[in-house]
């Protein structure tokens, strides 16, 4: 038996027929065909599936699609606008905040909510803020830099240097 639901995804209304057990991440990837949201684990531990539901970051493998009925969803595909990329996308690219790119969408969406709640976070606040998202490639240093860069950009502050710093 399938249930009809409607979702606003990245500003557009969508209607779906889903099984009650369908996870939101599977709906987004398989039925809405937006594959930027990834799946990295089956225990809600890795955060690769993170997206925004009504502006709040959520792990979409932990939510049933029917629970999201009527909500507004933002995925990585919805970050860039006609005006250009989102500051967080720019931050990740400019600061080498990604290697394989698999965790990146979830990491960026988590960071957006973090910066909305706390526009100028300390390094420690960023580290705790993204501790629900695993990255196996970067060692996190440059993800922290990327989020600091995006914060500065969103606040309108001077942008920090994106050059790597080496021990001399």
């Amino acid at each position: 038996m399938k249930t009809p639901i409607t979702l606003k995804i990245n500003g557009e209304e969508h209607s779906f027929e889903v099984e009650p057990r369908t996870l939101l991440v599977h709906l987004i990837r398989e039925q809405a065909n937006m594959t930027g949201t990834h799946i990295g684990c089956d225990t809600s531990s890795c955060g690769a599936c993170t997206l925004l539901i009504d502006g709040k970051s959520a792990k979409s493998c932990t939510i049933l699609a029917v629970q999201a009925n009527g909500k507004e969803i933002t995925t990585v595909e919805g970050l860039a606008t006609a005006e250009g990329v989102h500051p967080i996308q720019e931050g990740f690219k400019e600061n080498h905040g990604l290697h394989c790119g698999f965790c990146t969408p979830g990491m960026m969406l988590r960071a957006i909510e973090l910066l909305e709640k706390n526009p100028d976070p300390t390094e420690e606040e960023i580290r705790w803020g993204i501790s629900g998202n695993l990255c196996r490639c970067t060692g996190y240093n440059n993800i922290v830099k990327a989020i600091q860069y995006a914060g500065a950009k969103m606040r309108g502050d001077e942008l920090p240097s994106t050059e790597p710093v080496f021990v001399e």
Binding site: C100, G101, R127, I130, V167
Partner: protein, 794 residues
């Protein structure tokens, strides 16, 4: 230190150019295997064994087959009809694709369910009833070698016990003699535990067999697409699926670290099913399956010994290793030396005698030791040598930094012949350690530590001064299933001066699209932004052995430079023709040839390329293309000097990494930003096994931490803020003097952290702790030493 010969616009070597590949990733436009969706595609799920060792009495698929949407259930007996129930491993052992009678480890594949939808396949999996007769599992590798241990592999005709192979290197008699007579000898038993690569993307594939054309397209998570194509052809050739009919596509890969080198049964079953039903079949494993059944790493039990003088001269080392390979020997190693680079076990130190030996054993654990972000056991070897060097320093009561300085191979000794038979190409170990010590103010830290010790505080300073071996490898020493380990590059420059370059390697996040373009930009002067790099499609890329063992820059990077040089030779001929001068009258600067003494008379590389299609000399082949297959003359030998400072809470024994400075020498650096990113990532994958990660099994072979809920991958909170730097000793035999860097930090970090923690506990008589070193292990060790009944301040 890092100098650029080219302008920023050209973007050759040394520029921290932003990565070309990032745009698609930050827009969610990456194309990973699970994103592939083909018309009519079926989904596969796998039934796995709850037991580590059991007879399969019966598999009843009837309930599963009644579920609408379940298309088929495949068992080992089904595959047996086509002789597809077994497959070769990378080490020429054999592995069941699906077992016909006995399961050999927990979570082994037992049957596959194929359905029209993902969820239905999972329903089908739950409905398959398997009747098992459990048997007593063999979990302890030492007990597996007991004379009366049950034989785990009766399927192998020559196998009389559970011993797989013996390997040795060095001088046994001389080394034993030195140990008998030495003033000081030290010995520690170490276990480098079983861990997992845990790339955030799990493994999977879409097998798409086209019956009409007899053609297989295989989208898969693989680090070595060409080698996999050959393996598929070797296994499936007898059913007519020959190599030219197979296309392996490795699209974007979400991290590999060695775990995506092996062939897993799921891939083979998907191919078999697609072949039988004529439809595309997708198999994507979940995280539990990935952790529980995919190739583990490490699991080496090592007895390490060092002999030396009282005043600090190392005279010899001995290492004896027992490698737990689980159900089958599927370890990723060049087949000429089964314990791979344990040859590097003598470290960065100069002494003439050493003896290394290793034995491998079967147990009821998952198979396939992969060289997780390391070259074929370098990590284990470096851990052993760096720990035993500290143990020796402790024994003679000398500072571990001083012992290292006194015993390093000196820079004028390169090329250096190691006692286990390798020729180290270049290095300056003193410079690296000096820079690391200066950065942390080493002497100041030792004073601070002495003060803290008086107050009973636990502070430790740990060093690791390692030499790595990467760039597998020279064909005289390296092959996988007989295929020699060269790598390749093909460059085609189009008439308007823009290029496409294709490689036999496969990035899993290392940034090849940018760095390879920078190498070609360096050699030809064509801007890196005008060079599109492609990998991972066997129909278009030249044959190569793939990306692992930090081999992409040392092999395919060299191939790119060599192919570009072939083009530059051609460009020179065309320039001479266009400028109407002799080739000897021309000089090159990145991007153009000009006439000596008359720089205004010049031709840009773009003009030359255009002429190669429109106005080339009579008799010259048209076009501007070159291919090179690079067989390295030797390995490259990156090195590093790492210093870690830890503070340990005296109540909770929580370990805090206060600082970690990593000085790497990888020769010439192509893109410093990318190289630093590799070091950051590798260091976090180094702290992981040192303090958090271990695959734990109980005595029945049950895995106790088979999900990310309890297998502790470090988050941003556990990962420190890393400090990195370089010394530059170019490799003398590499075309661009590069050595590779991707795995140095994974190799170098664990012993630095372990040495720091053991150093913190030095006042309490603790000489060694096995990684991962947890607060509980420290607590237990102190308790055993009897120091915890009293205030620790004493």
């Amino acid at each position: 230190m890092i100098q650029c010969k080219t302008s920023k616009e050209i973007g050759g070597m040394g520029h921290s150019m932003k990565r070309k590949e990032d745009d698609r990733f930050v827009h969610g436009k990456g194309n990973y295997v699970d994103d592939v969706k083909l018309p009519g595609m079926l989904y596969m799920d796998i039934v796995r064994s709850p037991y580590a060792y059991a007879k399969i009495k019966n598999i009843d698929a009837s309930a599963a087959l009644e579920i609408p949407g379940v298309v088929a259930v495949v068992t080992g007996k089904d595959l047996e009809q086509y002789n597809l129930h077994w497959m070769p491993t990378l080490m020429s052992d054999t592995q069941m694709v699906l077992p016909t009678d006995t399961v050999m480890y927990q979570s082994q594949e037992v049957a596959a369910v194929i359905a029209t939808e993902k969820y239905i396949a999972r329903d089908g999996r739950e409905a398959v009833k398997v009747e098992y007769e459990p048997m007593k599992a063999l979990v302890d590798p030492y007990k597996a070698l007991d004379e009366d241990a049950p034989l785990l592999r009766p399927d192998k005709e020559d196998q009389k016990d559970n011993h797989i192979w013996h390997w040795e290197a060095g001088q046994k008699e001389e080394t034993d003699k030195i140990f008998e007579n030495a003033e000081v000898t030290v010995k520690e038993q170490m276990h480098i535990p079983r861990i997992h690569v845990s790339s955030i993307e799990t493994c999977g594939c879409v097998a798409d067999y086209n019956k009409v054309d007899n053609h297989l397209t295989m989208y898969m998570t693989t680090q070595a697409p060409h080698a996999i194509r050959t393996v598929i052809a070797l296994v499936a050739g007898h059913v007519g699926l020959t190599e030219e009919k197979i296309r392996v596509i490795a699209p974007d890969i979400g991290g590999g670290f060695g775990g995506k080198v092996p062939v897993y049964p799921g891939y083979v079953i998907a191919i078999a099913v697609s072949f039988l039903v004529g439809k595309p079949v997708k198999w994507i494993e979940d995280r539990s399956e990935n952790l529980q059944a995919d190739s583990f790493a490490r699991d080496y039990h090592i007895t390490a010994e060092m002999a030396g003088t009282k005043d600090g001269k190392i005279l010899a080392t001995r290492m004896k290793v027992l490698a737990d390979h689980g159900y089958t020997d599927a370890s990723a190693n060049p087949s000429k030396f089964p314990t791979g680079m344990f040859s590097i076990g003598t470290g960065s130190y100069d002494y003439p005698n050493a003896f290394m030996e290793a034995d491998a054993v079967y147990t009821n654990k998952p198979p396939g030791g992969v060289a997780y972000r390391c070259s074929f056991r370098v990590t284990e070897a470096v851990h052993a040598i760096e720990r035993i060097t500290d143990r020796y320093a402790l024994e003679i009561d000398k500072d571990p930094a001083q012992v290292r300085m006194d015993n390093f191979i000196k820079k004028e000794q390169f090329p250096y012949q190691s006692p286990t038979g390798w020729e180290y190409d270049s290095g300056d170990y003193h410079a690296g350690l000096e820079l690391a010590m200066r950065t942390v103010d080493y002497d100041g830290l030792r004073k601070e530590q002495a003060e803290k010790r008086k107050k009973g505080e636990l502070m430790g300073i740990g060093l690791s001064t390692f030499t790595e071996i990467v760039g597998a490898g020279p064909s005289k020493d390296f092959d996988i299933l007989g295929i020699k380990m060269f790598d390749s590059a093909e460059i085609r420059v189009h008439p308007t001066g823009k290029a496409i370059a294709r490689f036999g390697t496969k990035s899993q996040g290392q940034g090849h699209e940018t760095t390879y373009a920078q190498i070609i930009a360096e050699e030809l002067g064509i801007p890196a932004k005008d060079i599109q790099v492609e990998e991972g499609d066997t129909d278009t890329a030249p044959y190569g052995l793939g990306t692992y063992a930090s081999r992409s820059t040392p092999t395919a990077g060299a191939a790119a430079a060599m192919a570009a040089r072939k083009l530059r030779d051609k460009a020179k001929k065309i320039a001479a023709y266009l400028l109407e001068v002799s080739e000897d009258d021309l000089e090159w600067e990145p991007g153009k040839f000009f006439v000596k003494g008359a720089p205004e008379k010049s031709k840009t590389i773009q003009e030359i390329v255009f002429a190669s299609y429109t106005n080339h000399p009579q008799g010259m082949e048209a076009g501007f293309e070159a291919t090179h297959y690079y067989d390295p003359p030797n390995l490259t030998f990156p090195s590093g000097a790492y210093i870690c400072i830890v503070d340990i809470d005296t109540d909770t024994f929580e370990i805090k990494v206060r600082r970690f400075v990593a000085i790497d020498d990888a020769g010439h650096i192509i893109n410093p930003m990318v190289a630093q990113g590799q070091v950051h990532g590798g260091l976090t994958q180094g702290i992981a096994p040192a303090m958090y990660e271990e695959l734990i099994y109980d005595e029945d072979g049950n895995i106790l931490n088979g999900t990310l809920m309890d297998y502790l991958v470090p988050t941003a909170v556990e990962s420190p803020s890393w400090e990195t730097g370089h010394t530059v000793t170019p490799s003398p035999h590499h075309p661009i003097g590069a050595k590779g860097i991707g795995e140095s930090p994974t190799v170098g970090a664990p012993p630095a952290i372990a040495n720091a923690i053991v150093d913190a506990l030095k006042p309490y008589g603790i000489t060694h702790l096995d990684i991962p070193i947890t607060p509980y292990k420290i607590f237990k060790a102190l308790k055993e030493k009897g120091v915890l009944d009293k205030p620790i301040a004493e």
